[in-house]
Point group: C2
Chain length 276, copies 2
Amino acid sequence: MRNLNQDTITQAVIERFSHTPDPRLKEIMTSLVQHLHAFAREVRLTEEEWFQGIQFLTDTGHITDDKRQEFILLSDTLGLSMLTVAMNNDKPAGCTESTVFGPFFVESAPEYKNGDDVANGATGLPCQVRGTVKGLDGTPVPNARMNVWQADAEGNYDVQYADLAHAQARGVLHADDQGRFHFKTILAEAYPIPSDGPVGRMLKATANHPWRPAHLHFMIEAPGYQRLITHVFRNRDQYLDSDVVFGVRQSLVADWEQQPDGSYLLEYDFVLNPEK
Amino acid sequence: MRNLNQDTITQAVIERFSHTPDPRLKEIMTSLVQHLHAFAREVRLTEEEWFQGIQFLTDTGHITDDKRQEFILLSDTLGLSMLTVAMNNDKPAGCTESTVFGPFFVESAPEYKNGDDVANGATGLPCQVRGTVKGLDGTPVPNARMNVWQADAEGNYDVQYADLAHAQARGVLHADDQGRFHFKTILAEAYPIPSDGPVGRMLKATANHPWRPAHLHFMIEAPGYQRLITHVFRNRDQYLDSDVVFGVRQSLVADWEQQPDGSYLLEYDFVLNPEK
């Protein structure tokens, strides 16, 4: 394996990975090498561009920590996240659709009871959220565990505040035995994804805005059903057709209705897909 | 741009990058998105595998610092570095071939004079290196600036020792006005690339060894000529046909001849390619 040139190296690298014991890893490495090389060959990547790529990935790694995940932002903005979600969540009609997970989920968020205020001091207009978790046939799913999280009125998630020690606008709830849930929070607003890092530079260089339409994140788990990771998007948001992470599905768009007292109300039911 | 599915998202993402002002960046982003999505679609990447990929890149970023470049190691071991070198260094026959840059080059290495010992305390068997820098017609190229660097007898470059404050087995030399250079150093030995990080885990999981055949790095610069980045490889090394970074070219393999006093001598001439 000497004197590899641009025409022979791809096959040599694939050969090198051909002894991988795990067949799935072998399949992934083989496909990755083929497509990575095909990209470099198609654009005739220069050595300087190769180094800029190395530097971009290095910067992406260095800005990533336990509270910021720039690689997920990169995957989101290149459409890879939504492609992966779409491929893996081909559900029967009637089920709530999935969308991207995003980089701001936190394990072990505080537990709340139905009726509690998950805002916990986050800035924003007062809002109530209520609905039912159901199966495909309309039967309520009892006691589903629901993670909810969202940005505040400034467009930041709690983890983006370096000196904030407690969770805000984030929590774990449980639907009751009739599948019903209700909680207080703040009104979801459109916000730009963090743009002070490599992904922000990429968006700027490609003349793209960094905005996401207003949304509220949900992760819903119940025994016998597939885990649902999704958002509810706010109707009439100006970014619904240009979401920087390609996540909008029409079935997830809902009205947040303003109430006589000025607060908002979102009513939304979720339909879970049975486990196979 | 709502309701994107696995069949429509790639075109939507490409559309998003279609307003990129710099035409070269637009070309690169378009090709990157196509090949990245094609990879994910071909293997039907699962959400768990997607997250493992995010975690792998995160780990690669976190182990990378100003002395360790795991992204270059990753590029090297996936054959991307050598592919890029091969595409960009298609030179006339007779020129010294290029090979991978590697992750261990350091800017501003100490300056030495011809005859000096660049080992500077590095462990290894004593060795002399000499030769001439020439043009394609055999005419000497005077006063070329030459960066040389190599691993020590333990298989480590100086930058891999956390508590070593000075350069070892690394330096900048200048050929004389007849193109001649000579310096002392240590014998090049085969060594494994760093295997305590994500790239090491990838090699292990794919049943690949981490070894590179013994080599001495050169970067040679002279006005009017293309910069040459290459190694000289040591003949009869057991890893010449399985270099973990795919860098071996037969024309770069040379004998390190053992001398009566036990030391080694490498004689090697470099032929530079004129600038276009």
